[in-house]
């Protein structure tokens, strides 16, 4: 394939990667931003979403669409519920202490990952896309479903922005993020907000996975990469800045998608991880973030 | 008399707000100087700049003739600037004796031995006690003991009598009076009685700048100060 069309293909792949990454990172950005804690198990919530999508798809035989719709609703709900439980049982008890939360969520990572291994097995699980539609470009065919993923992702991001910026729920979240004590003074039940945010963050990650899993297979180890990538996005985009996360996701997802079409992924990953490290060293609040009060 | 401490145009901004605005300040050696002013006047910010806990946005600080503006906090402590925290900041899990020992070995050296520092503040009997179990007033005294162990040339006391009982405050005032010969003292205080008793000169700050400076009598009579802050003494 000549270069320009190849680049166009890379661009499309990059857009898809960016869309999914933005969605996955949104969940982490919410928890990081509002609760100021690092959830190392975030990738596992994502993985669970994918596993549940496969499972629910298997339950509904025949055309893949009903199973997909079922997963679209069921997986985020289930994963959100699990996250809610975790928040109540563990995070609240350790009082959201940053160090303790990291250690506890690392434990949670292992628990979820290994349970997935035991219940679902070690093989990769393919899931059929809810519809197949091939867009015929002059140089190559491209999956219409992938473009649907981009559109769906954009829609969800817009909805999230709308909730944060224009609704009372979003206002409550933003106040809690800005100044926890002040929020309490205003009568906001910070504990409830935290539980809701943590659950929402996990649910969005699961949703992203449900969208992605027809493109990529579900595998019990698939959570690590999205975790690292989301970290990179949230940190570079800036702690607490959802707009920053989205911009960073676009840039990084695009770069990742394009690079992986042309180059070996390992080198890109090395550079990406080093980049995150140096950004944090030089600018602890990320590129767009605000330092916590 | 040469000044021990001198600032020129010292400023510290947080975003758009100037917590300390263009302050020129001199402190002669051996003096007991009190800094007073309403809340938010910039007193703690100012002494934090001197102690090195905060970096200035602009301006210059000179200590004993040498410029220390860029010097990190730990080097200033080694030169003899001791700072006691406004919010008690001792090592709760170490014993009283260990707290002072750490201070003694960190600072300039050549200071009084830890037992002597504890005796000065009246805590020598509690040397083996865990610092976190001390009564609040005693913890404040431990802070001062640690400051003393650093053999300070400038001892900065940030609201030292806050939370102390009247008896403890009286004892504290005696302590400071006893120190006057050995070291220069810069004292942030809200307790006007303590200020009037101890201070040889008073600097009044308001909204980041120096409003007035002078003897206690002069300050008490100053109308601008009365308007801004003093109320009834």
């Amino acid at each position: 394939m000549p270069f320009l069309p190849h680049l166009f293909l890379a661009f499309l792949e990059g857009t898809v990667a960016a869309a999914v990454l933005a969605l996955t990172a949104l969940g982490l950005s919410l928890t990081f931003g509002v609760m100021r804690v690092v959830n190392v198990a975030h990738g596992e919530f994502y993985m669970l979403g994918a596993m549940l999508a496969w499972y629910l798809a298997k339950l509904s035989p025949g055309a893949p669409l009903p199973g997909f719709l079922l997963a679209l609703v069921g997986a985020p709900l289930a994963v959100g519920a699990l996250a809610f439980l975790t928040e109540r049982l563990v995070l609240r008890r350790i009082n959201y202490d940053p160090e303790a939360t990291i250690v506890a969520t690392i434990g949670l990572l292992f628990v979820i990952q290994q349970l997935a291994l035991t219940v679902f097995g070690a093989e990769a699980k393919p899931v059929a896309a809810p519809f197949t539609y091939r867009i015929a470009f002059p140089w190559f065919g491209y999956s219409g479903y992938k473009l649907f993923v981009v559109a769906a992702s954009a829609a969800i991001l817009l909805a999230a922005w709308w909730v944060m910026a224009r609704t009372r729920v979003g206002l409550v979240m933003r106040v809690t993020q800005f100044d926890r004590e002040m929020a309490q003074a205003f009568g906001i039940r910070v504990g409830h907000v935290y539980a809701a945010v943590f659950a929402a963050g996990a649910a969005i990650a699961a949703l992203a996975a449900v969208l992605l899993v027809p493109i990529q297979q579900a595998h019990y180890l698939m959570g690590l990469d999205p975790l690292l990538m989301s970290f990179i996005v949230v940190i570079i985009g800036g702690l607490g800045s959802i707009r920053g996360s989205v911009i960073a996701a676009l840039v990084i997802g695009m770069a990742d998608g394009i690079v992986s079409v042309f180059f070996r992924p390992t080198l890109a990953s090395i550079l990406a991880t080093l980049l995150v490290a140096f950004v944090l060293v030089l600018r602890p609040q990320g590129l767009f973030g605000t330092a916590p009060r | 008399m040469t000044s021990l401490l001198e600032t020129q145009g010292l400023s510290r901004r947080f975003g758009g707000l100037a917590a300390v605005a263009d302050v020129d300040f001199t402190l002669p050696a051996g003096e007991i100087r009190a800094i007073i002013g309403p809340n938010g006047a910039g007193k703690t910010t100012f002494v934090s700049l001197i102690a090195g806990r905060l970096a200035p946005s602009s301006g210059m600080i000179r200590f004993d003739g040498e410029e220390i503006t860029g010097l990190p906090a730990f080097r200033r402590a080694r030169r003899g600037i001791a700072y006691t925290f406004q919010i008690t900041s001792i090592f709760a899990n170490l014993t009283v004796g260990e707290n002072v020992m750490l201070a003694a070995r960190g600072g300039r050296g050549g200071g009084p031995p830890p037992e002597r520092c504890l005796a000065r503040v009246g805590l020598e009997a509690r040397a083996e006690q865990k610092a976190g179990t001390l009564a609040y007033g005693h913890q404040r005294l431990l802070e001062v003991a640690m400051g003393l162990a650093l053999a300070p040339r400038l001892l900065i006391l940030d609201e030292p009598t806050q939370g102390l009982s009247d008896v403890e405050i009286a004892g504290f005032a005696d302590l400071v009076r006893g120190l006057a010969g050995e070291t220069t003292i810069l004292l942030i205080e809200h307790n006007m009685q303590v200020v009037m008793e101890l201070a040889q000169r008073i600097t009044v700050m308001d909204r980041g700048a120096i409003l007035a400076e002078g003897t206690p009598a002069a300050i008490r009579a100053d109308e601008a100060v009365q308007r801004a802050y003093l109320g009834s003494v």
Binding site: V38, V90, R93, I94, P98, E99, A100, I102, V103, A104, I106, G107, L108, L109, F110, V111, I112, Q113, Q114, L115, L117, T118, L224, L228, F231, I235, T266, I270, T273, L274, V276, A277, F278, L280, V281, L282, P284 | A51, R53, P72, A73, F74, R75, A77, R78, Y83, F85, S89, I90, F91, L94, E98, L102, A103, R105, G106, G107, R108, M146, L150
Partner: protein, 315 residues
């Protein structure tokens, strides 16, 4: 003799005698535990005593591991020379990483160490031609039998391995005990308790932290080199995030800021995982549950809780 010193000697004696009482499999496992306990002890210096939580110590362990493995197989170094080379590299790498990473505080430091370690791991994979990735480097038996000070040391012999590991562990714990009781150790604890205050007392906090990190990293590298030379294997899994989490877990379990806690934690966790592996292939589940329970109920670990409640003299 103080109780603390007596306890250390008793533990050393018990470990020495244990080799005669247990079977071959247990002896091998104990050897492994002791070597990795050196890693945990090094980690504890930074985590327990200085209060800095690193999520990237695998890069220090792997530095020693690969220095020894590549040193013997590619650079033609003898085992002792490779060992020294590994320690030297351990110092260099931890100093370099520390100079950069320590500028980040708190949560940022954790993530920075995690990122550096991940980059290290990916680099190991990238140079798979040399490191042979997951398959790993195998060190030939011939290299592991060498001359040292006129004696023949045979690292293929279980008894030699066991006692050498015990010796190294004793040295590591001894060094950590000495460090903790020294003035430097007191300053590190002060930094952990109240960094701001410590700086205001005239201590160069940045330098002390760097020192702690270098000591910690070098001990980890020493453990890695020993591991490679004793078990003849250097594979990329040992450089992965898992191996950064392990010393954290072991130290937490045994008791951070205790000298014997890391050893206890390593031993317990190994046994737990070994037993769990026999039952299920999801043995990391045990690790995960252990971490959560520890953080929730026993943040001070076994020895730490013992020290707090009953045995205040525990080192």
């Amino acid at each position: 003799m103080s109780r603390a010193l007596g306890l250390h000697l008793a533990v050393a004696a018990a470990l020495f005698l244990a080799q005669f009482a247990v079977g071959d499999y247990a002896q091998l496992m104990l050897t492994r535990i002791m070597v990795l306990a050196i890693y945990a002890t090094g980690y504890n210096l930074l985590f327990g005593y200085t209060g800095l939580l690193s999520l990237g110590h695998a890069m220090f362990f792997a530095t020693g591991l690969y220095a020894a493995a590549l040193g013997t197989t590619r650079l033609g170094l003898s085992a002792p020379a490779a060992f020294l080379f590994a320690i030297f590299l351990g110092v260099a790498v931890s100093a370099a990483i520390g100079a950069v990473a320590l500028r980040a505080k708190g949560v940022a430091f954790m993530i920075v160490t995690l990122m550096f370690s991940q980059a290290f791991f990916l680099t190991v994979l990238y140079f798979g031609d040399y490191t042979r990735g997951d398959e790993g480097i195998v060190i030939a038996d011939t290299i592991r039998v060498f001359q040292f000070l006129g004696q023949t040391v045979d690292l293929t012999a279980p008894a030699v391995r066991y006692n050498l590991a015990l010796l190294l562990l004793a040295l590591a714990i001894g060094a950590s005990y000495a460090a903790v009781r020294s003035h430097m150790g007191h300053v590190l604890v002060a930094i952990r308790e109240n960094e701001d205050r410590t700086a205001m007392l005239g201590y160069d906090v940045a330098r002390y932290k760097l020192l702690a990190l270098v000591l910690s990293g070098t001990l980890s590298a020493l453990s890695g080199a020993t591991y490679a030379l004793m078990f003849a294997y250097a594979g990329s899994t040992l450089a992965s995030i898992q191996y950064s989490i392990h010393p954290l877990l072991w130290t937490l379990l045994g008791g951070a800021a205790t000298t014997l806690g890391p050893l206890l934690g390593t031993g317990l966790m190994f046994t737990l995982v070994d037993v769990a592996s026999g039952l299920t292939n999801a043995h990391l589940l045990v690790v995960g549950v252990a971490l959560i329970l520890l953080v929730l109920f026993f943040p001070k670990g076994i020895l730490g809780t013992l020290r707090q409640r009953w045995l205040g003299w525990l080192p």
